[in-house]
């Protein structure tokens, strides 16, 4: 066993398999959650028959249905670009997963520049969206792709700036290090160390900005202008069908998981919950449970938002990003840095 774990290539293979199996499975869970939660918000029942109980197999059945469908490519499409685009989008979402720590040692790869890598990898998806919009040879797709591009530029900045506050507070960019900084006692009352996640250490503004920006990046309502069903039909997704559409679909939910996991790690203490034991053994068991609970909570908030709000207009979104979120994020950085120096 240890021979396998010590061998770099075997370990790599195991890690790749874990990512490749875990993410799609978890995405199915999130899709099911979305179906059921939205149904109950709209006084419907939602899926009910597939799988026998609560319709739990509905996402699976949908996925299988999509795979059976014909893979249509428009005659005028730029074929290679059209084919690669969904893979790039899915890859971007999967790649982020690499640096999410489930416990102090349960992490695919704890990079020194972890959060930096995550933000960079997360933006790759938009390139795929632009490719999809451009190659479809459809005006609606093109407009959707361009909107996604504009959205990326507007929202990548607040996203990064919101993270900077946490990085300053933690003093590291490694995801493991950021959680460790939240496990460290913030201050002591007598001999009792008060351990709090960063959201309670003054990063509330950062957290809100991060969540809004990540929803914009995932293009979910109220920021779903790139898809905008009632305006652009389905935006860059219009011409996709079958397995390629499934990839986009999976990528959306994988992205929701990745973004929520990063938010949970940066702001909510990651795998650690105040009050739980912090020795390694306990973390191995409790860590994943705690993190996934937090992720599910954040995903619930995203679903809740989606089924409550209408969508913004592109220019309203831009003005919100440039006039509110970016200045707020900058103020947040300045305040955090000042406090860090003073105390």
């Amino acid at each position: 066993m240890s021979a396998i774990v010590d061998n770099f290539w075997w370990l790599l293979l195991i890690k790749v398999l874990v990512v490749a199996i875990f993410i799609p499975t978890f995405s199915l869970v999130l899709i099911f959650a979305e179906l059921k939660i939205s149904a109950h918000m709209q006084s419907r029942i939602g899926p009910y028959f597939a799988g026998g109980r609560w319709g739990w197999a509905q996402p699976l059945a949908d996925g299988l249905k999509f795979m059976q469908k014909e893979d249509l490519i428009p005659a005028d499409a730029d074929r290679p670009v059209f084919k690669i685009a969904p893979m790039i989008v899915l890859m971007g979402s999967l790649a982020v997963f690499v640096i999410v720590p489930f416990s102090p040692h349960l992490i695919v790869s704890d990079l020194d520049l972890g959060i930096f890598y995550a933000l960079a990898a997360g933006s790759i998806g938009t390139v795929g969206v632009l490719m999809a919009g451009w190659s479809s040879a459809n005006k609606y797709s093109l407009m959707g792709g361009l909107r996604a591009g504009a959205q990326l530029i507007a929202y990548e900045l607040p996203l990064v700036l919101a993270v900077v506050g946490v990085v300053i507070a933690a003093g590291t960019m490694s995801m493991g290090g950021i959680v460790a900084a939240q496990v460290e006692p913030w201050f002591h009352i007598g001999s009792f160390g008060v351990r709090l996640p960063f959201i309670f250490q003054g990063q509330v503004v950062g957290f809100v900005i991060f969540m809004m920006a990540s929803m914009a990046e995932l293009s979910r309502t109220p920021f779903d202008m790139p898809i905008a069903e009632s305006e652009l039909v389905m935006g860059y997704l219009t011409e996709y069908s079958g397995i390629r559409f499934t990839m986009f679909f999976l990528a959306e939910y994988a992205g929701m998981f990745s973004m929520s996991a990063i938010a949970a790690t940066l702001f909510l203490g990651g795998y650690y919950l105040p009050g739980l034991p912090i020795d390694d053994g306990a973390m191995y068991v409790l860590g994943p449970i705690v993190l996934i609970t937090k992720v599910l909570f954040l995903v619930f908030v995203m679903i809740w938002m989606r089924w409550t709000f209408p969508r913004l207009r592109e220019d309203q979104l831009q003005s919100m990003a440039w006039r509110w979120l970016i200045p707020l994020a900058l103020v947040n950085i300045a305040v955090t840095a000042t406090l860090k120096v003073v105390f």
Partner: protein, 396 residues
Amino acid sequence: MTDRHLLAMHHAEVSVSVELETPDVTLNLGPQHPSTHGVLRLIAKVDGEVITEVDPVIGYMHRGYEKLAEVRTYPQITALVNRIDWVSGFANEIPFMVAIERLMGLEVPERARYIRLVLTEMARISSHLVFLSSYPLELGAATPLMHALRERERVLDLIEGVTGGRFHPNFNRIGGVKPAAGAGSTQKKVIQDLPEGFLAQTRDAMTNVLSVCDDMEDLVVGNEIFVERTKGVGLIPADRALEFGVSGPNLRASGVGFDIRKTDDYLPYSRFEFDVPVGANGDCFDRYMVRFEEIRQAARIVIQAVDTMPSGELQAKVPRVIKVPKGEVYVRAENPKGEMGYHVVSEGGRGPYRLKIRSASFSNISILPWLLEGQLVPDVIAILGSLDFVLGDVDR
């Protein structure tokens, strides 16, 4: 490499030395598009996301009702006019029936007039509920739809209980209304009236409608994004609205308090108290709010009418074969979508010589080329939705 690519390269070489052109793109919105409620086609020239010119193409839904009416008898036409604006089928029958009755000089029994009025207002409520719920959907909010349609279903159940049909009641008869659903030929002596418990159920349903209106107001109008998307968008000044023949809630949203229910006497509206809601600016938000208030007023009318419902006959004495004396008449009514009118020309036969249908949606969307110019694509969707047209009503 295909010819097309070569041609594109050729063009590229030519234009490189001059400057890069940014030609307008022609965007076909429709006839199959999620936001046009059917088969309206807008040929839009877009510069980026700004519409520079728009050319609506209608007629995909044309069924030729005016011509069809010429070869049918008057009672047969009732089934046709139902299907003009199918969201409020019942309301379409009223002006046609009143027109025939005026030509024939028939006195319609009071009870029949009251039943017509109650069902017309219910049709208005159901039509407006469809609008109030589907409009947020166009702006991206899916949840209000489900809540409003649930209440609408109760209203439709009531309509179905009386008429036997949810969408196409075909319930009016020349000189009154049909004996209610369930009256068979064997029961000729027992004239079936409104179903048992109808009046009480109607009062309940109206209370529910009012409460769902309050919920919707919290959910939709209390939402900053919705307000942001609709306030100041798609402004129609009052004089413009009148020039283009805009009518109904769209006109009242622009500040013109014109309501045919107040001015004409096609149904006994003058006996009930109700207000005519008027908007201030004529933007999408006002058009939305006016319809909100109209539902409340309609519920108010229904409750009053149910409380004072007279008893008596359901239909005036009419001959077995209906022949209308020579003459012509125009009768209009305040339908949920706006002014709906029928100009009937009779040569004295069993069917009309000519039937001209003035439908509200057709006139309402005639303002589109003027209104949509210079708007953003997302605003176009917001404006289209706010005009609340039905393609069957546009094309007829």
